[in-house]
Symmetry: C3
Subunit: 385 residues, 3 copies
């Protein structure tokens, strides 16, 4: 081979390598954009859960529906820019950017709405926004400790909680309980929280929106290859909790309770969160079934005792829908995830319980200092129309 | 060219070929994952149709809304794991796996909910679940015969029914008619099925959710290249049925009937199912228009005669929304699909009619043996709250 | 290099080039199909906005909900095939084809539904369809002038309006105002437009569906690379308008007004339309905040004066939700988009105001000639059931 031919071959080679890598680069950046749009799609599903799902689930309180929906709007509108802004401070780990940042923000908003369910109807409208401002740093601190190795307490990547059973659901419920303990008045304890046929139907609408889009919540940040399996686990868990809710409500109440159906059916989604991308379909169904029974038991049996024992009102029963099933979900990871760091998982759960309750109690004290509504659970106090 | 230069060229060639095929393999497996996520997206749309769509469409029965929504939840929760479990038996063709399996399961659940519309309000809550268990094997037998060449009756791949006019809609409606024939009591025949302004608005909500997401139902398993054209055919068919429903209801009733609007507007979606990926936009519009008129005619004129003639009650009029337009859709394929195997198409439709009616009649007999509700169409019998 | 080796190299080269371009071609056509399915997804989100969003937002009128939803169905069913058909005439630029065509059609339908909000409750059902037929050519003329360089008035590509602040929102609102001016009767002026607790909750459902899916409206035709950033701008704008709506309604009304919350919260989505893919998050938030305040000010202060001054009724207050924020959005592009052709932007806005008002006035005259309802805002006139 003479020099000219070697040159020829070399040029040809370079051209071809160029071509190949150009194709490859082209494909990769294009695929990344397409993948981000797919995350965006799931982010919109989560947004539907936040506003329509959580919002209408809370409309079950007769005569407080306009307030519940307005409060949902306002808390989301505070939480989304608020989370981004606080993240840029650098105090809570990396800044939130891009479409992943949006999803993380929505998770924070979901947890906030869960917490609000505990005190629904007993805050003035602007107090929901103040609560959001108190909630966000507490949530972000816990998120940073559990998922980003904050303060070196839980090894980075060791805590298993893809769909947020602990970080989102249990945290929100326990923070809400803390607020409720700090600020439930004697008067509110005596007032029954009532629903009617129309408020129950709206609540079931919210419930169904949550059920339908829950797979996108759990799979929001999962790689494309795992999205279908994750989604199906979530769906099977929801089927399990839906069926067991029915059997439990009939067993425990001697009749069907509309609030059990609207709420405990979703317990499977809460409980499968931690392990949604790591278990098989039958295990997912079983986790959901156990959670559905436990949640219904919570609504039918525990709720009244808890409220009397702690002198609080948990308006939406978030301790039964998000608290118990959330903790169950985090613990299920200890049983079903092979090779899990049990110390980190247990520690993370413990930290969440402590941080949520303590910060919730403090937030409740602060909120209580800013006053109470005259009449709980009534739109008319703030909607004069 | 000496040996060394030939070796060089060969090595260069291998490296490059490697590079090319690596790129290609990378792209292909990645594209498959992305395509599956796109199917997942449509599967969620179908899930919204099942729970929110069918669920709220059935809320039109005044005072039975909580039961209708609870029954929807329970039937879906039985159908999804039930279909997967029965499919693994091997009796009904290939096992259902992956995201395609989820979509096929949802199709079964849709057909079940259609069937339930025929007897809505006259089953106890647990009887809806028993009906689901009786329905699934019948549906899967028919699906296997028509689409997988079961028993060698219909040549595999010959039956044209992409969006399920026959396999899903007509089957569900006729099975439901069978059940209704077997188990409608004299008492239920005398009781009017009534709606009110709020139950009608909820029903229109369900209707609109179905309308909006129907394109994803028909295009759920279609290749990406055909999704837009399929979706637009479905939308044009729905526009056709929506317009003709209005003209027909005014013509036949001398005023607008809310139930006609909530239901017959959707007839285009039912009827375009068989041919949704194979016709042009004007044909799609025409198929929808004919179906919309026929469906409204069914609600306004046929329904009463059918109910008296067969001594049954079809609570939601599924024979008018899914039966007639479904059969029309299956027959439309004979006219508009070039090169169709007319024998197979006709035979498949005939088999569906027979299997659905016979198994429905038997299922109704079994259900009737397990008892009847005291008061039809009343939440209060089972929701003591 | 002898001839044989040159031949070898050439063949090798051709094989490889072939391989490369085959891979590349394969990937490109596949990616195009996948991208179209992603546009399809956003098109379905927009469809949810049209039917469920706009439809239920208009259900706030007590006792006119069934009519509002039926009219929504019918106008969409006229607009979609109508737009396609008119586009094939060639009078309004390129024909509408494929999934982009569907999105453009939906934009026209959105603008039509906005316009209908101005006269809601005062048209007979078939008059909504006639209005749709009068609206479409006017809308398409303006769209062609602003976006396709029609008549050479505005340079092709110079007008900045990605999400339709001007072309869709302001046009629809001003056309609706024109119709309202031409056909509001003295009787309708004296009748109050009233809502109740249930109609308000349905309205908030429509509002939330619009809020949730608005990012897909603005990003519908944006390239994948820009979808996340565009979506986040829209979400930040909506957060801004939601927060400012609350503060403004409390400030201006001394209490919260449900209609303000259902409507003005969305003003950020309207106003960010023109610049949604070109500004930063803080600017998007600010544009939304200003629009939310302005829109609430419109509902609380301007609406009554406008209606008395122009002797019209704007049932849904579309001038406040789509008119003022739409114009604000178009003007915001002058301030925040670097290198914008200010002449073209200003001219386009001016043309829209003139075309919309003039054609709306004419359409109203024509509609008035075809008669008026006996009783405005009552389902019972046309729904005898």
């Amino acid at each position: 081979m003479n020099k000219r031919s070697m040159l020829l071959v070399a040029i040809l080679g370079l051209v071809l390598i160029n071509g190949v890598s150009a194709t490859s680069a082209f494909a990769e950046s294009d695929l990344d954009a397409i993948r981000d749009v797919q995350i965006y799609n799931r982010a919109l599903h989560v947004m539907a859960m936040l506003l329509i799902g959580f919002g209408f689930l809370m409309v079950f309180v007769r005569g407080y529906g306009l307030s519940a929906l307005t409060a949902t709007y306002l808390m989301v509108a505070v939480a989304i820019p608020g989370y981004f802004l606080l993240k840029t401070s650098g105090w809570f780990g990396h800044a939130a950017t891009g479409i992943e940042g949006l999803v993380l923000t929505e998770f924070a908003a979901a947890s906030l709405l869960i917490c609000a369910g505990a005190v629904l109807g007993r805050l003035k409208m602007w107090q929901y926004m103040v609560m959001a401002l108190l909630f966000l740093p507490a949530y972000m601190l816990n998120e940073w400790i559990l998922l980003e190795g904050g303060w070196g307490l839980v090894a980075h990547g060791a805590f298993v909680d893809t769909g947020g059973s602990i970080v989102i659901h249990a945290f929100g419920a326990l923070f809400g309980l803390g607020v409720a303990i700090s600020m439930t008045t004697r008067r509110a304890q005596d007032l029954p929280v009532e629903s009617d046929a129309t408020s129950d139907r709206f609540s079931l609408l919210g419930s169904m929106v949550l059920w339908v889009f829950w797979p996108s919540f759990c799979a929001a940040l999962v790689v494309p290859e795992l999205v279908p399996a994750t989604a199906m686990n979530v769906i099977f868990a929801l089927c399990g909790s839906t069926l067991l809710t029915y059997f439990a409500t009939v067993l425990l109440r001697r009749g069907i309770d509309a609030a059990d159906i609207a709420n405990a059916t979703l317990a499977g989604g809460v409980a499968i969160g931690s392990t949604c991308d790591r278990v098989s379909l039958p295990v997912a169904f079983a986790i959901g079934a156990v959670a559905g029974f436990a949640s219904t038991f919570g609504f039918a049996v525990i709720q009244e005792k808890l409220q009397k024992g702690l002198r609080l009102v948990d308006t939406c029963g978030v301790s039964n829908l998000h608290g118990i099933p959330g903790l169950l979900g985090g613990l299920a990871a200890l049983v079903f995830v092979g090779g899990i760091d049990k110390g980190a998982q247990g520690l993370g759960i413990g930290i969440t319980v402590v941080v949520a309750l303590v910060t919730g109690l403090v937030a409740g004290k602060i909120l209580a200092m800013t006053g109470h509504r005259n009449i709980p659970y009534e739109d008319s106090e703030e909607f004069p129309g």
